[in-house]
Symmetry: C2
Subunit: 143 residues, 2 copies
Amino acid sequence: MYEKYVKILKDHTLKVTSPRLEILKYLDEHHIHPNVEEIYSALKKKHPSLSRTTVYNSLETLKKNKIIRSLTISGSELRYDIEEGMHHHFICTQCGAIIDIAISCPNMDRTIQGGHRVEEVQGYFKGICKKCQTKEKGRNNNG
Amino acid sequence: MYEKYVKILKDHTLKVTSPRLEILKYLDEHHIHPNVEEIYSALKKKHPSLSRTTVYNSLETLKKNKIIRSLTISGSELRYDIEEGMHHHFICTQCGAIIDIAISCPNMDRTIQGGHRVEEVQGYFKGICKKCQTKEKGRNNNG
DNA sequence: TACTAAATTGTAATCATTACAAATTAGAAA
DNA sequence: TTTCTAATTTGTAATGATTACAATTTAGTA
Ligand SMILES: [Mn+2]
Ligand SMILES: [Mn+2]
Ligand SMILES: [Zn+2]
Ligand SMILES: [Zn+2]
């Protein structure tokens, strides 16, 4: 069940703790780019002793070890992503959903830009998602 | 002095007010992608009656009218940019500087991605800026 | 099994942003 | 030019995300 996540932590010489395993599992099973509150309240149900601060601490540790990434796309809170492989993100300004955009970009692999050493690249698209466009049309037809 | 900014506001049928003019002027003359606090404290010197809330309100109005853009690159606060023309941004994790990256990207102009309607595109690069790399080298040689 | 550095926990700051109501004012109308 | 009013500005009080910190617990080692 958790072997996969145990391995990840051990490979990074991180202590294997329950909060870390649960957070990894949650992110692995929920590719919705959740914020801290979503992760916390989901895990709190199963592990009532869990502290919000632990979620913050653990996410920070996982991020420093490049096991997960944080997204600044929302502008008001960090969103977390365990998915590997370079991909970009779309945020719907209507429903707030954050969706993977699987495109490759010639600039994504560059390690130097304008003389600056690039360590991370994030491509953000903002607009109205497919689902919300459908709802919009429905409203127009019925209104 | 301010005619240029008066024109911008009038073209958008926005009321011409002192805070709006000063904010536009400040952003136009300081392409450093400042946060609210930087704008506020810079303008407060000349206009002691200025309120921080007004800076927030004005920036929001200018943004809604697409006169300026906000960047979520820092993750902790919004940064503002009046520059026109599509360009991307680099943030230095050492000194915090946010620098324009003048590259064109085939995905920047797309209005649809994965079926989603794209209204805004932001490309963020994170790493160590040119200046901080030089400092780093200096330290290494002298240390 | 005992030890210790690291992790977890809970509470109290802090910081950015928003809510709100009162005072002021830009621009339209008279 | 004066009057009027909706929009804007202002100050203060929430709110929400994140960080600081000290006490408690625990994973991994000896
Ligand atoms: Mn993703
Ligand atoms: Mn810029
Ligand atoms: Zn949507
Ligand atoms: Zn730098």
